[in-house]
Amino acid sequence: MIGKRFLAPKIIIPILCLILLLFVPLFVGTYTLHMLILIFFYAYLGQSWNILGGYAGQLSLGHGTFFGLGAYTSTLLFIHTGLTPWLGIFIGATLASVCGIFIGFLSFHFGLKSHFFALATIAFAEIFRLFANTIQWVGGAQGLLVPLKGNNLFLFQFVEKEPFYYIALGMMILSMGVVYLQQNSRLGFYFIAIRENEEAAKALGIDTLKYKILATAISAFLTALGGTFYAQYVLYIDPPGAFGVLVSVEIALRTIIGGTGTIFGPILGSFVLSPLSEIIQSVIGVGKSGVYMMVYGAILMIVCLVMPNGIFPYVRKFFK
């Protein structure tokens, strides 16, 4: 009976996918690997955003705040004290979490909803960007270069792409795990109840303020981990690349395109959008200024017009 359960397609397909993904680096070139890292990375960020934006239904367009805090904290600690990013990553995430609690408490305490919450989160991220831009100690407008110490597992630095591939894959699976656990626990039901009808949730005795703040904190923590990964992978961060509005939009975008409040939405969104943007980039070339982003904007609009519920419902229908 157990054997039968394990052979169910619901379990066997993900396991096969995982095994396949584990062996991919043996067969593909650097460029493909880079693309896969980006796919996993954005799927991870989208999944982190999904907890607050998808499940709890609070549209944040300021996740750059948490992303940037993660990236800046671990990098500054590394530069100034030599602390390994493996520890810095958690300090940054904790800081982002605290910041998330602060922003969440203020916003939700004062009853900000939908548009207004989205605008408030943009404002917070912009304030962080402007300060990072002005304060010279954190690199100012030039940003920060992560000092390269060569291949060093202890310092989260690798010359090859394979280690990053496995880390990104691990992070994506971790975020799926967190979302899966959340989805099937009391917590997830609270989140969804808040999203669907906050007044009713409150009437049923759910402390909506507490759970919305909790969703923000978890989401912020995970997003900040992504920030450190980004800093270590690219080895450079600057204010618009960490706290900018476009970063926040990129984080939310994959999930919205894929399907919010679903575990496969961010993955799907990232697998469609990340290669697409890379392909447009290589076909048109970045050199012709503007064209690539123009096509990107156009695709974004088309997806919104054609699939207002994201891609996931179509895929699900197809498999049913």
Partner: protein, 300 residues
Amino acid sequence: MLPLGRGFFIVDLNLILQATINGLLMGGVFGLIAIGLNLIWGVLDIINFAHGEFVMLGMYSSYFLFTFLGIDPYISIFINIPIFFVFGMLVQRLLIERVMKARFHIQIMLTLGLLIFLQNFALFAWSSDYRSVKLSYSLTVFNVGGLMISFPRLMACLIALIIAAGLYIFLKKSDIGMAIRACTVEKEGAALVGINVRKIYLFAFGIGSVCAAVAGSTLLPFFYVSPTLGSVFILTAFVVVVLGGFGHFLGAVLGGLIIGVAEALGEVFLPGSLKQVVSLVIFILILFFRPLGLMGGKIE
């Protein structure tokens, strides 16, 4: 600002007055941009993130009308009005109308897509160069009791206020204006009494775009234009709308003036790019404490 030791500063009063005047003049333009955003937001319940891009396009339009045809930016306002009215209606008809019933995630993503598209269209078509026009009156300054009042800034503010006043009368007195206001308050009721809501949406978006584009024309004589200009104005426009009160027309003008002064003073007191922090902090505080804006939630 002169350092006086021990952390005290003596601030030149003249400098503050000068900044206040510049801020007030700029604030009029902010007000006009915000009126457009507010109208679209109020009537359609859509936040148009691409609104700043309309300002940018209006500015480019006036720029090219001046460089190729020698038309003065203030005259090109009259050409911009029909162009951007139609442009706004097209955006509404082809894009926004199709997501009116979608979740607001999608609505926001659509206007963000439009923002990215228009910004990069400008980058592609006109390169990232900062452009400005040289007019005989670009640097004209009136000296009023030691304070410098720049002629183009004064003109920009006056034109913005005139357009705002005209629009106010239009919304108050004309049939279409009243229908637009009815849709702001109660869409279904408006539809029930026989107002063609779809047409009103088209009108509102058209008028909103015109406000942005005209503001762009008035900015041209003293402000550079570049493809990323929209992002300079869009956040400020949101701040002004929220400050003035959602759906509140006069509030947007008042909010524009306040934010104009706040940013100008921020420039005097704060280093570098931090001046925007002032308006962002005001924004957040208003969202928390006066979510219906300074004038309270009364929709006119």
